[in-house]
């Protein structure tokens, strides 16, 4: 059995009730260091709420969780400097250049001077944006915007990277390249939590968690969940939702 130090996310009975609805219902969840964790589930299942609590933006109404070893309520500021977040809409400043976007995020994490310049150059290379530093983000293609959003979330060298449906509206080839980059990041020791609707992406994850109506109803590697390929993931999840 791995010790608790092997987990970067540990949630115990984590709950969030809004007026009238329970968005997350006594969720227990563990994410191992260095893996790609796929967070699945239909819209409104509570994935985004869970992620917001894990990022320290939302306060849970019950239970606790530790992210990178910090309590999500008491040490939320500490968590924020160890995680990177890529939102669904990329949320880059389109009227800023590639360089300025990276510069902005460096300085938000208190990285400045020579150190900032070094990291920006590294990120530009990683995103394959060499030579485009001075282009306005507005003029980048969807795939490049996505890569820029990814490296903006990496400037401060976070332990954990959270990606909320990062491949919405991106073509299949760009998507494949993007997942190759994610795999490289995991190999270099980072942990990635990715929410997605696309089951072909789910197969690329090390561990999957499936949420439905605020509860985690399935957890395991794609192999475990499909019993070694007896069923497809799709069949598995349709069955799970029916039984729930």
């Amino acid at each position: 059995m791995p010790s608790s130090n092997d987990y970067i996310i540990e949630a115990f009975s984590l709950s969030k009730r809004f007026v009238g609805i329970t968005a997350v219902d006594r969720l227990n969840l563990r994410v191992k260091k260095g893996e790609i964790f796929g967070f699945l589930g239909p819209n409104g299942a509570g994935k985004t709420t869970t992620i917001r609590m894990l990022c320290g933006i939302l306060k849970p109404t019950g239970g606790t969780a530790r992210v990178c070893g910090y309590d999500i309520v008491r040490d939320k500021q500490a968590i924020k400097s160890h995680i990177g977040y890529v939102s669904q809409r990329f949320s880059l400043y389109e009227d800023l250049t590639v360089y300025e976007n990276l510069y902005f995020y460096c300085h938000l994490y208190n990285i400045s001077g020579e150190e900032a310049r070094m990291r920006i150059n590294k990120m530009v290379k990683l995103a394959g944006l060499g030579g485009r530093e001075k282009s306005l983000t507005l003029y980048l293609s969807g795939g490049l915007k996505q890569r820029l959003a990814l490296v903006c979330a990496l400037v401060h060298n976070p332990l954990l990277l959270i990606l909320d449906e990062p491949t919405v509206g991106v073509d299949p080839i760009t998507r494949k390249e993007f997942w190759d980059t994610l795999r490289e990041l995991a190999n270099s020791g980072k942990t990635l939590v990715v929410t997605t609707h696309l089951l072909d992406e789910a197969y690329k994850c090390d561990t999957l968690g499936f949420m439905h109506l605020g509860k985690l109803i399935a957890y395991g590697s794609p192999g475990e969940l499909t019993e070694g390929g007896k069923r497809t993931l799709e069949e598995t999840f349709v069955q799970l939702v029916k039984n729930a």
């Binding site: 320290g56 995680i83 949320s91 800023l96 300085h107 400045s112």
Partner: protein, 351 residues
């Protein structure tokens, strides 16, 4: 501090690269100043006035001569009342004097005499103004009215300083709500909230640049009014600067409050227009005196920051007053109230 400066830096890039912001921030205020300074003048000069003189005495000529020297009246002599009526009908005349045959005789015998004055009442505001001017002239011998602070009663002297207040309100509220709601709509706030930067710092970093723009405008408009319109400026620039800074507090708080509740940029602009700009123009005393409003409206005018800042700006320009303890207290208290409401709204929104 470092992250605050970073947000400021980013906001100034937004401002520089968005042509619409530059237009709202710098072209629009100048345009408004010119419009209000030149076109909208409530002063009357050269009122087209008809005269039917049945007396034809030197006294009448002397009276008309002294009246026309005031530049208020532009006289045309008509042979009969009928023809003068036609002049009113055609719109050539706004005012008419009928001088009775016994005018000079009564004047020398009794010491006073009567004339009939006709005023075109179809424009009620104009008619009231004309009647005021005429009463001022004909009572001058018995009453000696002296107007303090704005001796020529130029409405421009009154309106242009007030424009500073209105423009600061518009810039402070519109630009900040646009910027905050726009950033939220694009999902950037969500992303920023996952960074270690505190929410208050983000908001402050987005408010300050627009505060600076509003302050720059105070001095552009002031300079413009002094150089082009020769508006008197009796007070000190230092107190104008200080009170403008104080006025920014409730104004930016109001902007933050509106952006906390509005969901889209368009709603934000509409809400700020209806809830802030219209009341600031109509209820603050910018054009219509607050004293003449019903009591309940006077109370509403008190919760509009512009009302209090208007007292201050006119006091500085026309009276040379340096300290305004009552108005300062109002501005401060309103700022605190709006800020508290805004904070509650933001908290709700996060949930």
């Amino acid at each position: 501090m470092h992250s605050f400066l970073t947000i400021l830096w980013k906001e100034f890039i937004h401002i520089r690269r968005d042509r619409r912001t530059v237009v709202i921030a710098f072209i629009f205020p100048l345009f408004m100043t010119i419009l209000f300074g030149y076109a909208i003048s409530f002063d009357l000069k050269q009122i087209p006035t008809g005269v039917v003189d049945f007396d034809k005495s030197p006294q009448v000529r002397e009276m008309l001569l002294s009246l026309s020297a005031s530049e208020y009246f532009n006289f045309t002599i008509y042979p009969s009342v009928k023809e003068m009526s036609d002049g009113f009908q055609k719109g050539d005349l706004k005012c008419g004097f009928v001088i009775p045959p016994e005018f000079s005789r009564n004047l020398s015998r009794k010491g006073f005499s009567k004339i009939q004055v006709l005023i075109d009442g179809s424009d009620a505001n104009l008619a009231r103004k004309i009647s005021q001017i005429i009463q001022r002239f004909f009572l001058k011998s018995s009453l000696n009215i002296k107007f303090l602070y704005n001796p020529e009663l130029h409405s421009r002297n009154f309106v242009v300083p007030g424009l500073i207040v209105i423009l600061m309100t518009i810039l402070g509220v519109i630009l900040t709500t646009r910027s905050i709601v726009g950033e939220r709509e694009r999902g950037n706030f969500e992303l920023l909230s996952t960074t270690p930067v505190r929410g208050e710092i983000i908001i402050l970093g987005k408010l300050i640049p627009y505060g600076i723009i509003a302050l720059i405008n105070v001095f552009i408009i002031t300079g413009f009014s002094l150089l082009i319109f020769h508006i008197p400026f009796k007070g000190s620039f230092l107190s104008l600067f200080f009170y403008s800074l104080l006025f920014l507090f409730p104004t930016l708080a109001l902007g933050t409050m509106i952006s906390a509740f509005a969901t889209t940029e368009l709603t934000a602009i509409t809400v700020s227009f209806v809830s802030t700009m219209l009341p600031s123009i109509i209820l603050s005393g910018f054009i219509f005196p607050v004293r003449n409003m019903p009591q309940w409206l006077q109370w509403i005018s008190k919760i509009i920051p512009a009302t209090h800042f208007l007292h201050i700006v006119r006091g500085i320009f026309l009276k040379g007053i340096g300290v305004f303890p009552r108005e300062s207290l109002w501005l401060f208290v309103l700022g605190v109230i709006y800020l508290l409401i805004a904070t509650q709204g933001v908290k709700k929104r996060v949930e």
